[in-house]
């Protein structure tokens, strides 16, 4: 455990020296500041930041994590020649990466918000946004590690992560739309909610949207969905689903990595 922590801190220090990652934080800060300058309406800023988060955070987290995984493969092998457990090492690397990316994302949003002087009306909304950004980062780091462990070929691994990103941001919603279209004569609220549980991006989106007044645009169906996902139990459900999305892919990669022929 102590070794894990040591490794984690070392990784973290190394990651925070990578200029590309600071560029990520800077662009998040830039985007949120730009939204604030363009409109004074916090609800609009929040919605725009949500759209940005849903697209950019999974892409950057996934792509960076999987590239980092392959680029440091030799160093990993070198470390494994030392008295370090495989599981410990993988966990430390994953945790450091997820922590760094989350911190930089949060720092970016916070830096953008400081321009507003922290006199926010929609504090709760921004907190939910930060939470959904965090879960997106964790889930896509996990998926990246799974791809990294599964494929030895870097091209294949990166493609797999990009495919996952494309699937969860666009294709899964297209699938939901198709289901809604095909079975429109049936009550669909529950099946649709079940389908959203299968995509971390949908869950992260609804986590924020259901707490904003735009949710009224979902009409009567929205009330049912709000009951299923937005009530206390529903929030627990969607947060547990997001926790599973953050941990399960990594756990799989951890199990595989322990027995993998390197």
């Amino acid at each position: 455990m102590k070794k894990s922590l040591e490794l984690l801190l070392y990784e973290l220090a190394h990651l925070l020296r990578i200029k590309g990652l600071w560029f990520y934080a800077l662009s998040v800060a830039g985007v949120s500041a730009a939204f604030f300058f363009l409109t004074g309406d916090e609800r609009k800023v929040l919605l725009s930041l949500l759209s940005f988060t849903l697209l950019a955070v999974p892409l950057v987290s996934g792509f960076f994590s999987v590239s980092y995984f392959y680029d440091t493969k030799e160093f990993t092998e070198f470390l494994l020649a030392q008295p370090v457990g495989r599981g410990e090492l993988l966990f430390a690397r994953w945790a450091a990466l997820a922590l760094a990316l989350t911190l930089l994302y949060a720092a970016g949003v916070a830096a953008g918000l400081t321009l507003k002087g922290f006199s926010l009306q929609e504090k709760a909304g921004f907190l939910w946004l930060a939470l959904s950004g965090t879960f997106l980062t964790l889930s896509f780091c996990s998926l990246a590690f799974l791809a990294g462990v599964l494929f030895d070929d870097k091209a294949k691994g990166v493609s797999a992560v990009l495919a996952a990103w494309l699937y969860f941001t666009l294709l899964h919603d297209a699938l939901i739309l198709t289901v809604v279209y095909l079975f429109k004569d049936y009550p669909l609220e529950k099946p649709v909610v079940l389908l959203t549980l299968l995509s971390p991006v949908d869950l992260a989106r609804l986590l924020v949207v259901l707490r904003l007044d735009v949710a009224a645009l979902m009409g009567l169906t929205g009330t049912v969905i709000k009951e299923l996902l937005g009530s206390f139990k529903g929030t627990l459900l969607s947060i547990s689903a997001l926790v599973l999305w953050s941990l399960v892919p990594f756990t799989l990669s951890w199990l595989l990595f322990r027995k993998k022929d390197l």
């Binding site: 919603d173 297209a174 809604v180």
Partner: protein
């Protein structure tokens, strides 16, 4: 050139009679230390045409029935308390005035519509400058002709549900009533009219009512002007009515899952002109509407500015401003028998080469996603999804993707300037 008009020969006689009548009309004063200490007693003593002046204080007299043509005037807003048991004032005579009272705590009943002030079958009443607080129904007019309800301040009981409170101003089978400058809060419906004809509803403010700010059915030929409807549970709903005129009203912040700025259900031959719709979930929902003109209105920052259902036809929507709405338009059919022409759309991206102020490319206000959601409500779970943003972009790039034919063939490039009378 005619002869100078001379007074009719019997004018002096009429004048004498009038003076005689006036001299017989007397004022009865009611107060705690007066000769008459109760309003009921004063009403017993009063004759038609008398004035009963009630001075400050609280009067708990059960139900006070006004069955003579008197002016009931309060000085210093005397309180008439129904003690949560009685209907407070009940007017059955013609030509009664009720002015300057504070009427509170009417009884609550599931069977009878107990009101703070009920007028039944009378004509020519004036209800003016009263405060109504914590009543089940506040002002209740039934079978009334030629009345005025003016400058009253009406606050509901604040019970946490629409089932435990009646309407602020309630009219049933009335004609020629003027409802003006009243403020109504916390009731079920602010103003409710059923079978009401030829009436004027002017300059009222209905806020924070549990259900509708204004609600009417089967009430033909009424005019609604310069009213404000703000933050009501479900906005304003008007139904099954012909020849409605709505001018210069403001519909604001009626936001919620099933809330409308203005719900037009089975409305025909009506005018909706020069109104402002700000931040409502739906600005106007048109369901079974026929031959209605919607002209020179502002729709600003609504969820949907207009929802036009397929059962509506021959309506004209023209010279309106559509500014920064999430969706300008939604409909549930591909075809539409309505005229949409010469509106200003802030989302319009066309051009005007001949500089006549009219865009050269038609504007299609129904977004693909709005159409999908209207037909498949469960699709609303994709609100704010990147896929939806992509669909919107694709729709702009490939016009063939648009599902609905409805379009404004002559979109305006400049905002329509029209006058709002404050």
């Amino acid at each position: 050139m005619g002869r100078p008009a001379s007074p009719p020969p019997h004018a002096p006689l009429l004048l004498t009679l009038l003076l005689a009548a006036l001299s017989f009309a007397q004022t009865l004063v009611v107060c705690k230390d007066c000769r008459i200490t109760s309003i009921k007693k004063a009403l017993e003593l009063a004759k038609d045409g008398d004035t009963i002046l009630v001075k400050g204080g609280t009067y708990r007299e059960g139900t006070i029935v006004v069955n003579k043509r008197v002016r009931l005037v309060g000085e210093g807003y005397p309180t008439l308390d129904g003690q949560r048991k009685y209907e407070v004032l009940k007017v059955t005579a013609d030509g009664v005035t009720v002015e300057g009272f504070r009427i509170v705590n009417s009884g609550v009943s599931e069977l009878e519509d107990l009101a703070g002030l009920k007028v039944e079958g009378a004509s020519g009443c004036v209800i003016k400058d009263n405060l109504f607080e914590n009543n089940f129904w506040a002002v209740y007019l039934s079978g009334v002709r030629g009345c005025r309800v003016e400058d009253n301040l009406i606050k509901g009981s604040g019970e946490q549900s629409e089932a435990y409170t009646g309407n602020g101003i309630h009219l049933w089978h009335c004609e020629r009533v003027l409802i003006r400058r009243n403020r109504i809060e916390g009731h079920r419906d602010g103003i409710y009219l059923e079978f009401v004809k030829d009436s004027l509803i002017l300059e009222n403010e209905a806020r924070n009512n549990w259900r509708y700010g204004l609600h009417f059915m089967f009430s033909h030929g009424n005019t609604y002007a310069r009213n404000l409807f703000e933050r009501n549970g479900a906005g304003v709903a008007v139904m099954y009515t012909k020849k409605v005129v709505m001018v210069n009203n403001t519909f604001r912040d009626n936001w919620g899952d099933s809330s409308y700025g203005l719900l037009l259900k089975a409305i025909t031959d009506s005018l909706v002109v020069n109104n402002r719709f700000y931040r409502n979930t739906v600005g106007i929902l048109m369901d079974e509407c026929q031959r209605t003109l919607i002209k020179e209105n502002d729709f600003v920052e609504n969820g949907w500015a207009v929802k036009l259902w397929a059962n509506s036809a021959n309506n004209t929507i023209t010279y309106n401003n559509f500014l920064a709405n999430t969706f300008d338009f939604a409909t549930n059919s591909r075809r539409s028998e309505n005229e949409l022409r010469r509106n200003y759309w802030s989302a319009y991206r066309g051009y005007d080469l001949n500089r006549d102020g009219i865009g050269d490319v038609p504007y299609k206000p129904v977004k693909l996603f709005a159409y999908i959601v209207e037909n498949n409500p469960a699709a609303s779970v994709l609100l704010k999804s990147p896929l939806v943003e992509l669909l919107n972009l694709a729709e702009e790039a490939f016009p063939a993707l648009t599902a609905v034919e409805l379009k404004d063939p002559e979109p305006l490039l400049r905002r329509v300037e029209w006058r709002f009378y404050e």
